[in-house]
C-alpha cells in the first residue's frame, strides 16, 4: 500500500478542506482510529522490532548488514531480483501498452469485456495461477511439447528464471494495465489528429505527440510492476530454480533453514530501503514527465 501512495498511481482527486469544526475533528479522529491502531499494531510495531533485532542480535552493531555486502551471495541474489523485476516491468509494459491503448479507442461494450479479461487473473488465487504455470512448463507439458514440436527447442522451462519471469509478468499484468489505461484515457486524441492535419504521418504523430504524453503513465505502470516484483515469493519458489533464488526466498531460507532471524531481518530492511528508493526514483521521473505534460493544462 505504501508503494501505491508513493507512486501516485491513479491520482486521487484533490480533497477540499471543508470548514472544520471541533465536532468534525472528533469525528475525523474516530474515523481514523481503527486504521491507525491496526497499522501501528500490525505494521509499525513489527517493523520497528525487525529493525531492532537486525542491529542487536546476536550482538549490537551493523554486522548483519555488513555481512550482506561481504558474503558475495546476497548482492548476487539482489542483482538477480532487480533484473527479474526489470524484465517483468518491461514485459508487462510491452503487453499492457497496446492493450490499454486498445481500451481507450474501442466501444464501451468491448472495453467492459477487455476489463473483465484483465481482472479475471486478478480474482484467481495465486496458487492456482502458479500451479497452472507449473503444469504448462513441466517436462512433457504443453509449452515444452510445443517448443519441441515447432521450434525444435528442448528446453523445459520449469525450474528456470525465464519461467519465473513469464509467470510473474502474467500475475502482475493487471497492475500495469489498469493504471496505464487510466493515464492513457486522459490523453486528448484530437492532438494526434491535429499532428496529422499539420503534416505528420500517423507514425510520427504517434511518436511525437502521443508517446510523450503517455510517458508519465508508462513510468508509473512500469514502476508499480517493478516494485511489486521485488517481493515475489511463491512464483520463484514454485517455478524457479533453487540455484537461482530471488531475495524473498533468501529471506525465507534464512528464517526456516538457518534460524538466522537477525540476518533475515537485515535482508528485509535492505530490500525495503531499495524498494522505497526505487519508488522515489520512479516518482521523480514520472513527476518530471507529468510536469512537462501538466505545464500545459
Amino acid at each position: 500500500m505504501t508503494t501505491t501512495a508513493v507512486l501516485d498511481v491513479g491520482r486521487a482527486a484533490p480533497v477540499r478542506a471543508a470548514g472544520r469544526t471541533t465536532g468534525s475533528r472528533t469525528a475525523t479522529a474516530l474515523l481514523l482510529a481503527p486504521a491507525v491502531i491496526a497499522s501501528l499494531a500490525l505494521f509499525v510495531y513489527p517493523l520497528a522490532r525487525i529493525v531492532v533485532v537486525s542491529v542487536t542480535e546476536p550482538t549490537i552493531g551493523l554486522h548483519n548488514y555488513a555481512e550482506l555486502f561481504t558474503d558475495g551471495y546476497t548482492l548476487r541474489v539482489l542483482t538477480r531480483t532487480l533484473l527479474v523485476a526489470l524484465g517483468v516491468a518491461v514485459l508487462d509494459l510491452l503487453m499492457a501498452f497496446p492493450y490499454a491503448y486498445a481500451m481507450t479507442v474501442c466501444s464501451p461494450r468491448v472495453r467492459a469485456v477487455l476489463f473483465t479479461i484483465v481482472l479475471i487473473p486478478f480474482w484467481t488465487s495465486a496458487l492456482a495461477k502458479n500451479f497452472a504455470w507449473m503444469i504448462l512448463f513441466q517436462r512433457g507439458g504443453l509449452v515444452d511439447e510445443f517448443l519441441k514440436a515447432t521450434l525444435g527447442i528442448d528446453y523445459p522451462l520449469l525450474g528456470t528464471t525465464p519461467a519465473v519471469l513469464i509467470a510473474m509478468s502474467q500475475v502482475l499484468l493487471p497492475f500495469a494495465v489498469l493504471p496505464l489505461y487510466a493515464s492513457l484515457e486522459q490523453i486528448d486524441r484530437r492532438l494526434v489528429d491535429a499532428a496529422q492535419g499539420l503534416g505528420a504521418t500517423r507514425g510520427r504523430a504517434f511518436r511525437q505527440v502521443y508517446l510523450p504524453l503517455a510517458a508519465p503513465g508508462l513510468v508509473a505502470a512500469g514502476a508499480l510492476a517493478f516494485i511489486l516484483s521485488l517481493g515475489f515469493y511463491i512464483t520463484p519458489a514454485l517455478l524457479g530454480s533453487p540455484q537461482q533464488t530471488l531475495i524473498a526466498q533468501l529471506i525465507m531460507a534464512r528464517v526456516e533453514q538457518v534460524l538466522d532471524f537477525a540476518g533475515a531481518d537485515a535482508i528485509g530492511i535492505f530490500l525495503l530501503i531499495v524498494t522505497v528508493a526505487m519508488a522515489l526514483l520512479s516518482r521523480w521521473v514520472s513527476r518530471r514527465a507529468t510536469a512537462r505534460k501538466e505545464a500545459a493544462r
Binding site: D193, A194, A195, Q196, G197, L198, G199, L213, A295, A296
Partner: protein
C-alpha cells in the same frame, strides 16, 4: 499566399456511419471560391463537423468527392492534403513550447533549421506573440492560445484554412474580440476559410457565405443578409435568428389565409406550400384599428415587455397560442402593457414565404 489557392469543390458527399441510422452527411454539394470565408452553420448533429472532418481527411466519406483546384483529394491521408487547421479547443501540443508548436508543420515538411526559425519568428511576431516562444500552451491566456493555433495553422502557407468551432470555449467578450481578429486576418491573408460553428451571430458576422446544415443536408446557402431576409426554408428562418411564423395556405395566388386572417402576398412567385415568416424587428405593434393601410396584421396579446438596452422586446401570443415577438428600437416609445390586445403588423417587403 494566394498563388496556390484553388477552388474547393465538394461533390455529392455522403457519410454513413453504418447501422440503420440516417446518414450523418446525406449528400453535400458545395463550391468554395478562393479567398472566400464560408461558414458551415448548424445545430449539433447536423453534419457540419463531419463534413469538415471529411474535407480535412480525418473521416473517410462513404461516397462523393472533394477537389482542390481540380485535383481529387478524396482518398488522401490528412497529412498529404496540406490544409491548415484550427481545432476546437485549439489542440495545441501541451508538451511543446509555443515555438515548437508553430514549428511543427514546418518540421514535418523537412524545412531547414534556419528557414523554420525565420518563418516561426516572423509569424509569432505578426500574431503578437513575440517573447512567448518558450512558454507552454497552458501558460497562455485563451486569446494567446488561439493566436498560437492560428499561427501554427498558417505558418506553412496552406491554400485553405479549416476552423472547427475555434471560439466555442471562450467567454462572450473574448469571443467578440477574437471574431474581429479573425475577420481582419481573413482580409489580410486572403485565404479560403472554411469555418464551422453553431453560433448564428458568429456566422453572420464573419462569413462571406453561410451554408446552413440540417440533418446532413445543406438547407440554405447564401450571403448572410440574403439568407436572413429570404431564408427559403422554415428551418433556416428559425435557426438564423428569430421568426414569427404562420403556417397557413394560399386562398388564391395573391391571398394567404391563416386562422381568420387574410393577408396580401405581394408580387413574385411563392412556393405552393409555404409558411409566412416575419422577423421580430420588422414586426410592429399597434392598437386595434391603427394599423397603417396596406400592412398585414394579426391579433395578439402582449405577454411580456422588456427593455434590452438599445432595443425593446414585446413578447406576444398569437390566436393559435404560439409565441412571437416584436423587437423595436428603445427610442420608439411603445405604450403597451402586459395583457393588452394589440395588432402585430408588418408591411409587404417584411414578409417572406418559406417551405415548411
Amino acid at each position: 499566399m494566394n498563388a496556390r489557392a484553388g477552388r474547393l469543390e465538394i461533390r455529392e458527399l455522403v457519410k454513413h456511419y453504418g447501422g440503420d441510422g440516417p446518414a450523418a452527411v446525406a449528400g453535400i454539394d458545395l463550391t468554395i471560391d478562393p479567398g472566400e470565408f464560408i461558414t458551415l452553420l448548424g445545430p449539433s448533429g447536423s453534419g457540419k463537423t463531419t463534413t469538415l472532418n471529411m474535407i480535412a481527411g480525418f473521416v473517410p466519406p462513404t461516397s462523393g468527392s472533394i477537389l482542390l483546384g481540380g485535383t481529387d483529394l478524396t482518398g488522401l491521408q490528412p497529412h498529404k492534403r496540406g490544409f491548415g487547421m484550427v481545432f476546437q479547443n485549439y489542440a495545441l501540443f501541451p508538451h511543446m513550447s509555443v515555438f515548437d508548436n508553430v514549428a511543427y508543420p514546418l518540421r514535418q515538411r523537412g524545412k531547414s533549421k534556419a528557414e523554420i526559425r525565420k518563418l516561426v519568428l516572423d509569424i509569432v511576431e505578426r500574431f503578437g506573440l513575440a517573447g512567448l516562444e518558450r512558454r507552454r500552451p497552458a501558460q497562455l491566456s485563451g486569446g494567446q492560445q488561439q493566436r498560437v493555433a492560428l499561427a501554427r495553422a498558417l505558418v506553412f502557407s496552406p491554400p485553405v484554412l479549416l476552423l472547427d468551432e475555434p471560439l466555442g470555449a471562450l467567454d462572450r467578450k473574448l469571443r467578440a474580440q477574437l471574431q474581429l481578429e479573425l475577420k481582419k486576418l481573413h482580409q489580410e491573408v486572403g485565404l479560403t476559410f472554411v469555418f464551422v460553428t453553431h453560433d448564428q451571430d458568429e456566422a453572420m458576422y464573419l462569413s462571406d457565405r453561410i451554408a446552413v446544415f440540417d440533418e446532413g443536408r445543406i438547407d440554405g446557402m447564401g450571403r448572410p443578409a440574403e439568407l436572413y431576409d429570404d431564408p427559403g426554408t422554415l428551418f433556416v428562418a428559425n435557426f438564423l435568428g428569430e421568426a414569427n411564423t404562420f403556417a397557413g395556405r394560399f386562398a388564391d395566388p395573391r391571398t394567404y389565409a391563416w386562422n381568420d386572417e387574410k393577408w396580401r402576398t405581394g408580387e413574385g412567385d411563392h412556393p405552393a406550400e409555404a409558411v409566412l415568416v416575419v422577423r421580430p424587428e420588422r414586426t410592429r405593434v399597434f392598437a386595434p384599428g391603427e394599423v397603417p393601410p396596406g400592412w398585414n396584421s394579426v391579433g395578439a396579446i402582449v405577454t411580456d415587455v422588456s427593455r434590452l438596452g438599445p432595443t425593446s422586446r414585446i413578447d406576444l401570443a398569437f390566436p393559435d397560442g404560439r409565441a412571437g415577438a416584436a423587437v423595436l428600437p428603445s427610442t420608439d416609445a411603445v405604450q403597451v402593457r402586459v395583457g393588452d390586445d394589440v395588432r402585430a403588423a408588418w408591411d409587404l417587403p417584411s414578409q417572406a414565404f418559406v417551405t415548411p
